[in-house]
Symmetry: C2
Subunit: 242 residues, 2 copies
């Protein structure tokens, strides 16, 4: 049995990174920004706004990762970043309810075109868990919006820590009741896969070459020999025998 | 808005007790026990076995609730109880793999006849969360077995405590990103609803008069004025406008 657990056939659950891998955060934020710009009658550089909001993401998580700030979920971090951007992008006229609604755009991100149907195909053979830095409510609301068939929304909140810290992977694996080698991390980001492999997980790279827009330079391809490298979720399903 | 949040229309998530409310643990344990009895060629009082196993459940959780034992999930508690019953029921011939498989019958419980379809109907209007003493893996595996369309398997494990302790309800509500009055506890047990109401949740009693077999005496009907009292999940769906 131990030998068989070391083979790819022993994988029982796929654990997905979500932002960028399953959903197109940039396109979705731009879409809502443009709608808001029209409604409010203000000119907004929505591509710049989306990129600036996301640029604040890693720095915002850093104090939690470094244990100098207690875990707070992404609605809190996203709002802190947003408040620092509104004036710069001509959006300081938004009232509190509008700011709160805009901040929750991260609960309303659209899946990549292959995401929902690809996951349904993968779900016939595997348990599907979110191993995301998004919190449970965000993942659950997004699942309803984008039609994503999760078995379990796990990751940062249940571990009270952010990826790539080890406890996020370890807690998710433990809660699934599986051994690390029975799980496979699915991500468009080499760093995430590196951390997952470090915790004993199998790894699948899925290319999302326009996650950061047409001029993306990082994560265009796998930079290690991951167990699987796929062009999208349909390709992943085919390679995993679904 | 606060006024509207106090009306039943403001409920956004249904939080379900699982053992007894969604699934028929007694019938399922009896079924597997009888199959095992046939396979092993031993006579077993399977009704007595199921009842004795379940009778150990509340006492097993007590030390965790009283904070004299650190949280361990139900596979651990179920196994401790099972090991104490095998000889008494003529099952001491089971080897370790057979014991482990039998212990996981709690991951393979069948839904009540209305459960899966009733939940699908309810899910068109509400988020569906497990607010169970079962752990995440148990709820996820059972969902696959019984076709239960959860949005989120929450409850004891994410709180590291057992119902009816307040933190189990509070943690689930918090992780759903909702106010207590935006959630409704659905249970066949008056005690569970009492604890949920104590945390500010709405309450729905669903009668499961044969959960403990044909001679059940407790929880045959609501013993307080819960917000809803239903005969099954179809009736609950109808009363909630689904």
């Amino acid at each position: 049995m131990n030998d068989r657990n070391d083979s790819p056939a022993a994988v029982k659950a796929l654990c997905f990174d979500v932002f960028g891998t399953v959903v197109d955060w940039r396109g979705s934020v731009i879409r809502e920004c443009e709608a808001l710009s029209t409604t409010k009658g203000v000119q907004v550089d929505c591509e710049g706004f989306a990129d600036a909001w996301r640029a604040g993401y890693q720095p915002a998580m850093a104090p939690v990762r470094e244990n100098v700030r207690e875990y707070v979920h992404l609605d809190v971090l996203h709002r802190e970043i947003l408040d620092g951007l509104l004036a710069r992008f001509g959006l300081s006229g938004l009232n509190e309810e509008e700011r709160r609604h805009l901040n929750r755009v991260w609960h309303r991100l659209d899946g990549w075109p292959d995401a929902a149907e690809g996951m349904r195909r993968l779900r016939e053979r595997f348990l599907l868990a979110a191993l995301s830095n998004g919190h449970v409510a965000l993942i659950v609301n997004m699942a309803r919006h984008a039609g994503l068939p999760w078995d379990a929304p796990l990751g940062a909140e249940v571990a009270r820590q952010y990826k790539p810290c080890a406890e996020v992977y370890d807690t998710t694996i433990r809660m699934l009741g599986l051994l690390p080698q029975e799980t496979m991390m699915v991500a468009a980001h080499n760093d995430d896969l590196r951390a997952a492999r470090g915790r004993g997980m199998r790894t699948a790279f899925v290319a999302r070459p326009t996650e950061y827009g047409p001029r993306q330079t990082a994560d265009l391809e796998p930079d290690e020999a991951w167990d699987v490298a796929a062009s999208d979720f349909f390709d992943l399903a085919a390679q995993l025998g679904c």
